[in-house]
Symmetry: C2
Subunit: 222 residues, 2 copies
């Protein structure tokens, strides 16, 4: 399971490159609503908290909380769940961690404040990946990578293979191709499973693109 977009771990680009260069297949996609909670030892009260640990990105997503509680110091920690584990294990009565409800349950912490993230529309998209493709009969979404030369109209030609077949793209992202200056890799998702129009579009794409790799065919989440 790898985070792919809007991730806490800042690893989107790395993970896209991983999918491109390894023999891996996306089996499913997930979207997780990110909820940050202030978690402490049972018995600790909010006014007793002096330090709060979490991943820097999580701390940054809770700026309003730290503005309102100016006596509490934000301290960066390797990851969110780990910060709770640390607080509980070290019996730190003046400290808290910011993490998920699951982390509180897992390490025996108590939630002192729930949903303290500034922006409630905070989602992370994950891919479940496997070494071998196991296509689902409900698959209706395909993730691909393809590369084109850096000449005018190259991307336009590549996208024509979908437009001509009324296939919707739900994502596209260009990235410089490693070790190939002036070439780009595009990561795109389109809303078809493994059917005749999709196969035709991919065959057609193979004619206009230098490289085409299907990263996975899987059921779309709404």
């Amino acid at each position: 399971m790898i985070p792919i977009e809007n991730s806490l771990a800042c690893s989107v680009a790395e993970h896209l490159d991983l999918l491109l260069t390894h023999k891996l297949s996306i089996e499913r996609e997930f979207k997780l609503r990110i909820v940050h909670n202030l978690i402490a030892l049972p018995g600790t009260r909010m006014r007793g908290i002096r330090e709060v640990y979490s991943h820097p990105v999580a701390l940054d997503q809770c700026r309003d909380f730290f503005r309102k509680h100016s006596a509490i110091r934000a301290v960066p920690f390797y990851d969110t769940a780990g910060s709770v584990k640390h607080v509980i294990e070290t019996n730190a009565g003046e400290a808290g961690g910011i993490a998920s409800r699951l982390a509180a349950r897992q390490y025996g912490g108590r939630i002192l404040a729930a949903g303290i993230e500034d922006d409630k529309r905070n989602f992370t998209r994950f891919f479940l990946i496997r070494r071998t493709a196991r296509p689902s009969p409900r698959a209706n979404k395909t993730s691909i990578a393809f590369s084109v030369k850096n000449v005018p109209g190259a991307l336009f030609k590549a996208l024509s293979v979908f437009a001509l077949r009324d296939i919707s793209l739900s994502k596209i992202e260009s990235r410089p191709r490693r070790g190939h200056p002036f070439e780009y890799v595009f990561f795109a998702d389109f809303l078809r499973g493994d059917d005749e129009p999709a196969r035709n579009a991919l065959r057609h794409l193979g004619e206009v693109a230098d490289l085409v790799k299907v990263l996975g065919i899987y059921p779309a989440l709404r």
Copy 2:
């Protein structure tokens, strides 16, 4: 100055949204080669180092170093330069920070190992932004944002305005539009300044897109 791609601060998406929603203009782009150095108090020797502080992303980009020096513990810190400041100020003789050459100079640290990042092709792209546009006469690159409805071929139509005029796109990225479900914002760069073909393309784009915003017209870096 804001990091926009491949950033240490994980803030790409935030910064793109900022450019879209605020009255700001990109004046220049920069690319910085990211070089990570192990920096310590003058007099400290490599074998004396037990802990190394830095931003989690920087630590992660130096995995080979920590694999080779398994006695050294990687400790996450808020930012890279700050980790060096911390080591120097606290007189920590068994600790180091991972940061730039500039940070070493600024805080009087000594570089014990230079260029310890795993991947030497590590760049971050920055934008210099201003509240008011001050177009450069050497401008030959334009960053825009535009939105289209989630219907097949909408992006294809939008890109046709560039392809028909032989204008090269050097970047494109789709993002869900905040507060407008099933609509997308595309962030794109094309390789023209403020000339006749570019103005025609943008006027044409206005006919096929719901929203078009020029984020900046500036000199391209190679």
